[in-house]
Symmetry: C2
Subunit: 339 residues, 2 copies
């Protein structure tokens, strides 16, 4: 067991003033603890983007029409979205998985695209369960299979990202349910909601979550499925299986963290594989991170989704790993500690 | 002229929710403004480390003995210091320049080491001028020459870092003098000072800066030289010449920013080439950044020196550049703005 005392003794023995790299040292310690080694690795790394549509869009909870999901899936498949640009800049392999977009990919499918469509989007969670238990299990299995592929490919770090117009509404439901905060505290602007849309989100989330806490204890999977999205459950399955395979998870923002709450609830211990990339602009995100005991690296008011916040934070892990692995110790230089 | 309205129109036209990448978009806008192009470049990049010793160490202002400067220069030359590890991790070329260490390099000199020694360290600034005007000019010229070499090499981004036991004392003098803050507000722990050392620093800085503001107007170079270090003036010359050559400067922490204050005072406009990497743990740093009108990217309590804070922030610029250059516009997708 590489515990904190071993890790900090290593860091404090390096040829530099003690703790003089501040948060980079905390990150290095976290990375070493997650990987249980003093020379953690950050390559190769992969982001898997899961895409799905949401019946709850009928309630007026998003600034963007549902068709934008399919349009952005096309854009990602064409390599021209923000996630593609950042993944390329940070030397991160990228895969795109359709787990339930309203319409199938229109353009050409690259080799890294996978069609694993559960349905043409979820049902409206405001009027009934968003999905059946069978569909929940199917979405989870798609994500778990992606983690297995990452493990087979020898990936050291994985990120899960999502594309799904309307998905901050199920994410807010799950955050309220699983982080135990009031529905209104979990509601934010998402991808640019105005006051009317936010009022709709408040009404929908409060209604959907009311009474669900009791059901959560009796049948957690059914309670979670009722207010979820396919891409969220696929991310949860991905996280649980990645953690089991000892792959380090770099956790993105609000929607990904809602998936992490699901994974931790159904597979306790999953959070031990996680490093939180950032605190998003969504107000419920910090409560979700607190619930998981995670401290975000960046507080940059990012709220795009597509795993972009994690891609921005990714190279900070490279520096943390280099610090642990490639700096000489004071004792090797024959110097004592002066601080 | 690529002004802010042009830059933000470009960013707001990209296929993502408006301003949804928060501080990454601010960084992208700054990078575009500094480089005056909507497709800024971040490679190749180079860090130049300037090393020198400080006579003021005799006043008990550092936790570390002066010999550690030479020892760390040896360590950097051997490729085993923190700056080497981070530069390698972030694909950054590294050079090391001795502008006045107490003793010459003991080990083998790599091709990227340069001996440009002005003297065996500065004089004690508590008892007289730290250096002569001639030595000031010589140190400045070494830095300017390094900027010219970087320009000839086609480097898009440069970082200046420093190694010099005791150099937070001259940096505090310069910050008090040039950012107009009281001496006590510019004093911090440096590389691990205890209360006695901090009291010594307070006494030395207050004494050295008293009456210097008046002299600054009459003969700025002489006033600055009296409380400087060779590596600090070399960095100032480096910044001024890099800005003149239109190279983007990623500014490190407290000591580098003191050099930036010098450069801006003697070559007004130098600051327009600068992006501030981080706010260091040194209390005077924020005042210096404010004086330059710069907003730090990271607030990670880093205080190591060697340009390490800038190296940690460097890959964030890669993401900002990728956002500007490689993301499709909404209009090209045939979509309108919904937010």
């Amino acid at each position: 067991m590489i515990d904190d005392s071993i890790i900090w003794a290593h860091l404090d023995g390096l040829a530099k003033p003690r703790r003089s790299l501040g948060k980079l040292e905390s990150l290095a310690a976290k990375l070493a603890a997650v990987q249980q080694r003093l020379d953690p690795v950050t390559r190769p790394r992969r982001i898997v983007l899961f895409a799905g549509d949401h019946g709850v869009i009928a309630q007026g909870v998003s600034a963007w029409p549902a068709a934008v999901t399919a349009s952005m899936v096309d854009t990602i498949a064409a390599g021209r979205a923000t996630s593609n640009a950042l993944a390329a800049a940070q030397d991160c392999d990228l895969r795109l998985v359709d787990v339930g977009v309203a319409s199938p990919l229109a353009g050409n499918a690259p080799s890294w695209f996978r069609s694993a469509r559960i349905a043409d989007g979820t049902q409206d969670l405001a009027t009934g369960p968003a999905m059946s238990i069978a569909d929940f299990d199917a979405a989870w299995a798609v994500g778990a299979d992606e983690a297995k592929r990452a493990a087979d490919g020898g990936f050291a770090i994985v990120i899960a990202g999502e594309m799904g117009i309307g998905n901050t509404t199920p994410a807010a439901c799950l955050t309220a349910l699983l982080a135990g905060i009031p529905a209104y505290a979990a509601i934010g602007p998402g991808a640019g909601a105005d006051d009317t849309i936010i009022a709709n989100k408040r009404r929908v989330v409060a209604g959907a979550v009311a009474g669900l806490a009791a059901r959560l204890n009796a049948d957690p999977r059914a309670a979670i499925a009722s207010v979820s999205g396919f891409e969220i459950i696929a991310m949860a399955g991905f996280f649980a299986a990645a953690a089991e395979a000892n792959i380090t998870i770099l956790l993105d923002g609000f929607v990904a963290t809602a998936a992490a709450l699901v994974a931790e609830r159904l597979r306790p211990g999953t959070k031990r594989a996680m490093i939180a990339a950032h605190r998003s602009a969504e107000p419920g995100h910090m409560a979700a991170l607190n619930q998981l005991g995670l401290t975000p690296l960046l507080e940059w008011d990012m709220r795009l989704g597509e795993g972009t916040g994690a891609l921005v934070a990714l190279p900070l892990l490279d520096s943390a790993a280099a610090l642990l692995s490639n700096v000489v110790s004071l004792s090797e230089l024959g110097l004592g500690r002066a601080d």
